[in-house]
C-alpha cells in the first residue's frame, strides 16, 4: 500500500464555551490514501464538522487542538500562517456544511470563482478557467454571469464544489454536501462527486449522517460516536454487516427497500445523543446499547481489530463474537 496522503493521529479538539470546555473530538486517528474516498458518519453533534475544521485549522480562536494532522508528512497543526494559506485550497479544500447560503448574494458566481483562483481580475485566462470549472461541475459556462439567487439549490452546491476545486487541491473535504437537497438533486451531486473523484484522482473525505449515502460513494467508512471513531472498515461491509451496536442502529435506520424484516417495523435507537460536556463513563454508548454487558460502564474501549481490515470499539468484538 502507498503512503497515506493525510494521516490524522490522536486528534483532540476542545471548544471553549461559557459553560466550560466542550471536548468535541476525543482521540481520533485515521489515514487517507491517494485517490481514496473516506466516509465519516455519525449523528448530529458527534464531532464530524469539528474534525473537518481541525484538518484545515479553521476552528474558532481559543479552541484547543492536540495531536497531528500530517499532510505528506508535514503537520498542518504546526504550520505557520503563511504556509497554511498556501496549503489551504491548493492542497486541501473544503465544501462547508450548510454553505448553500454562504455565496455572496450581490456578486456574480463567476467573479466569486475568480477570487478563489486569486486573480481578482477578469482576464481571458481567468474567464477560461472559470468556464472550465463550471463545466467540470456540470454547469454551462454562461451561468458565470448569474447571481446566486438565480441558481437552484443543486446548482449552488455545484458552484461551491467548483470553488473548492479552483486551485486543484489533492484533498477535498465535503461536509454534508447533499443534506439540504432534494432526492433527485442529491443523486446528481453524488454522481458529480464520484466522477470528479475519479477524473481528478482526488482524495476525498465525505461527511454525512446518512450511512446509506456513504456506502454508495466511499470505499472506506468511519462511524463516530461522542467524539470518537467507534467502527471503521470497507463502506459496504460497515453498512451491511456492522460490528458496533451503534453502527448497527444507524444502518438499520435506513432500511433496504425489499427487506421484510423492516417492513412495518421501523428501527431506532432509544435515548438521546450524549452531551459532549457529560460523556458517560466506560464505553460512551453503554447507556443506549441493546447488548450492553456488566463491564461496559467501566471498560476502556478502543478500536479493536474486527477482521478484514475492519476495527470496532466494542467488547463483543474483543470477545470475538458478533454483537
Amino acid at each position: 500500500m502507498t503512503a497515506p496522503l493525510l494521516s490524522v493521529r490522536d486528534l483532540h479538539v476542545t471548544y471553549r464555551s461559557e459553560a466550560g470546555p466542550v471536548p468535541a473530538v476525543r482521540g481520533v486517528s485515521f489515514d487517507l490514501h491517494p485517490g481514496e474516498t473516506l466516509g465519516l458518519a455519525g449523528e448530529s453533534g458527534c464531532g464530524k464538522s469539528t474534525i473537518a475544521g481541525a484538518l484545515l485549522k479553521v476552528l474558532p480562536p481559543g479552541t484547543e487542538v492536540t495531536g497531528e494532522v500530517l499532510l505528506d508528512g508535514e503537520d498542518v497543526l504546526q504550520m505557520k500562517p503563511g504556509r497554511l494559506r498556501a496549503v489551504r485550497w491548493t492542497e486541501m479544500s473544503i465544501v462547508f456544511q450548510g454553505a448553500l447560503h454562504a455565496l455572496n448574494p450581490v456578486q456574480r458566481v463567476g467573479n466569486q470563482i475568480e477570487e478563489a483562483i486569486e486573480t481578482h481580475r477578469t482576464t481571458p485566462a481567468a474567464t477560461a478557467r472559470v468556464a472550465e470549472l463550471l463545466e467540470l461541475v456540470g454547469l454551462p459556462a454562461r451561468r458565470a454571469g448569474d447571481y446566486p439567487h438565480q441558481l437552484s439549490g443543486g446548482q449552488r452546491q455545484r458552484v461551491l464544489i467548483a470553488l473548492a476545486l479552483a486551485c486543484n487541491p489533492r484533498v477535498l473535504i465535503a461536509d454534508e454536501p447533499t443534506t439540504a437537497l432534494d432526492v433527485m438533486v442529491q443523486a446528481q451531486v453524488l454522481e458529480l462527486l464520484e466522477r470528479l473523484q475519479r477524473e481528478l484522482a482526488l482524495s476525498m473525505i465525505f461527511i454525512t449522517h446518512d450511512l446509506s449515502t456513504l456506502s454508495y460513494v466511499c470505499r472506506r467508512t468511519a462511524v463516530m460516536y461522542a467524539g470518537r471513531i467507534v467502527e471503521e472498515g470497507p463502506a459496504e461491509e460497515v453498512f451491511a454487516h456492522p460490528r458496533h451496536p451503534y453502527a448497527s442502529a444507524l444502518a438499520a435506520a435506513f432500511p433496504l427497500i425489499g427487506d421484510h424484516s423492516h417492513r412495518m417495523n421501523p428501527s431506532g435507537l432509544p435515548g438521546d445523543p450524549p452531551d459532549p460536556r457529560a460523556i458517560p463513563s466506560g464505553c460512551p454508548f453503554h447507556l443506549r446499547c441493546a447488548v450492553v454487558q456488566p463491564e461496559c460502564p467501566e471498560l476502556d474501549v478502543e478500536l479493536w481489530p474486527a477482521g478484514d481490515g475492519r476495527r470496532a470499539a466494542c467488547i463483543h468484538v474483543l470477545a470475538g463474537a458478533a454483537p
Binding site: S44, V183, Q186, Q188, L211, A253, F254, I257, G268, D272
Partner: protein, 321 residues
C-alpha cells in the same frame, strides 16, 4: 365506500407567481385516504405535497374540486372548519418553527384543546397525550421549554399537540426529515403505535421511500401537481410501473439492484406544466426512443392522461402501460 375516510375530488390549487404567472401547485388530484391506514405521499421537492396537505387541512382553499371527509364535503365557513380541524390534525414540516420558544410544553400541547374549547380535564388530557407520544413520565416534561428538549423529544411534543384532540386523521409533513437517523426510527414506531392503538389514520408526506417501506400501507407518487402512481406499498415498491416512480426508486440508496436513472435538471416548474403527459420532457422512455418504438410518443407529447388501473388497486398514469 365506507372504508374511505377522506377523499379529494378533482382538486386544483393555484397560486399567483411572479410576472402574473399562475403556479398550478395541485393540478387535478383525486386521492382516497382509507380508514386506519398509513398513506405515504411521495415526490420531489416542489411537486405540491405540502400544498396538497395544507389544502386537505382546510388551510388553502381549492380553486376547483372538493374535499370530502366522512362522506361530507368540506365547507369553507368558520363553524364547519373549526370542527373539521379538530378531527384532522397536522404535524408541520419544520418542527422547530411549530413550537413557540416562550411557551412551556404543557401550554404547547394544551393549545389545541383551548382553541377547540373542549370541556373536561385539560391537565389530564395533556399528560395522557404526552405519555402516548412517548414522553414518560409526562410530569417531567410539563414545565420545560422547547430548547430544553432534544430534536426527537420536540417532535414528540408536536405529535402530542396534534393527538391531544383525538383526531381521526393525522397529516404529517416530513415528520422525521430534520431528525437524526437514530431518532427517526423511534418517531416512526410511535406513528405506527398511534395507528394501532389510538386508531388514527395517517397521511405522511415524505420524499423518502425508505420511510414508506417502514410504515406505509399505500403510496401515492406525486409529480408536478398530480398523482402519477398509487398502490399498495409493497407492490408499488417492488414493482413500480410509472417511469417517474422507477427513476425515483433507482436513486434511493436503500434500493439496490436497480440501474440508476438520474433525471437531470431540477424539480419542474408548476407555472409551466408541459402539455401531454407532464413527465414527458424528462421521461427516460421518451428520451431513449422507447416511446417512439412503442408508437406512443405522439400521445406522450400531446395527450394528458389520468390514472388507470394496472393491476387490482394499483394505478398509474403512463401511455406505455
Amino acid at each position: 365506500m365506507s372504508d374511505v375516510l377522506l377523499e379529494t375530488r378533482g382538486l386544483h390549487v393555484r397560486f399567483a407567481a411572479r410576472h402574473g404567472e399562475i403556479a398550478r401547485a395541485v393540478d387535478g388530484v383525486d386521492l382516497e385516504v382509507r380508514h386506519g391506514e398509513v398513506l405515504a405521499l411521495v415526490g420531489e421537492s416542489g411537486c405540491g405535497k405540502t400544498t396538497l396537505a395544507r389544502t386537505i387541512m382546510g388551510l388553502e382553499r381549492p380553486a376547483e374540486g372538493e374535499i370530502v371527509f366522512e362522506g361530507e364535503p368540506v365547507r369553507y365557513e368558520g363553524r364547519f372548519l373549526r370542527g373539521y380541524r379538530g378531527k384532522v390534525q397536522m404535524v408541520f414540516q419544520d418542527p422547530m418553527g411549530s413550537l413557540n420558544p416562550r411557551r412551556t410544553i404543557y401550554e404547547a400541547v394544551a393549545e389545541g384543546l383551548r382553541i377547540q374549547k373542549l370541556p373536561g380535564d385539560e391537565a389530564a388530557r395533556v399528560a395522557e397525550a404526552l405519555a402516548r407520544a412517548g414522553l414518560r413520565p409526562p410530569e417531567r416534561f410539563l414545565q420545560l421549554y422547547p430548547y430544553e428538549l432534544s430534536g426527537g423529544q420536540r417532535q414528540r411534543v408536536v405529535i402530542a399537540g396534534a393527538m391531544v384532540l383525538n383526531p381521526s386523521l393525522l397529516v404529517a409533513d416530513e415528520p422525521v426529515s430534520s431528525l437524526d437517523a437514530s431518532v427517526r426510527g423511534e418517531i416512526l414506531k410511535l406513528m405506527l403505535e398511534l395507528v394501532r392503538e389510538a386508531g388514527v389514520t395517517i397521511l405522511v408526506v415524505t420524499h423518502d421511500l425508505g420511510l414508506a417501506w417502514n410504515i406505509a400501507d399505500r403510496i401515492a407518487v406525486m409529480y408536478l401537481g398530480r398523482i402519477v402512481e398509487e398502490g399498495p406499498a409493497e407492490e408499488l415498491l417492488s414493482n413500480p410501473r410509472h417511469p417517474y416512480t422507477r427513476a425515483l426508486l433507482s436513486v434511493v440508496p436503500e434500493a439496490e439492484e436497480m440501474e440508476q436513472q438520474i433525471l437531470q435538471g431540477e424539480a419542474p416548474d408548476p407555472t409551466r406544466i408541459p402539455p401531454g403527459c407532464r413527465f414527458h420532457p424528462r421521461c427516460p422512455l421518451v428520451a431513449s426512443g422507447e416511446a417512439a418504438r412503442l408508437g406512443i410518443e405522439e400521445r406522450c407529447r400531446t395527450d394528458d392522461l389520468a390514472l388507470h388501473e394496472i393491476v387490482a388497486d394499483h394505478q398509474a398514469a403512463c401511455h406505455a402501460l
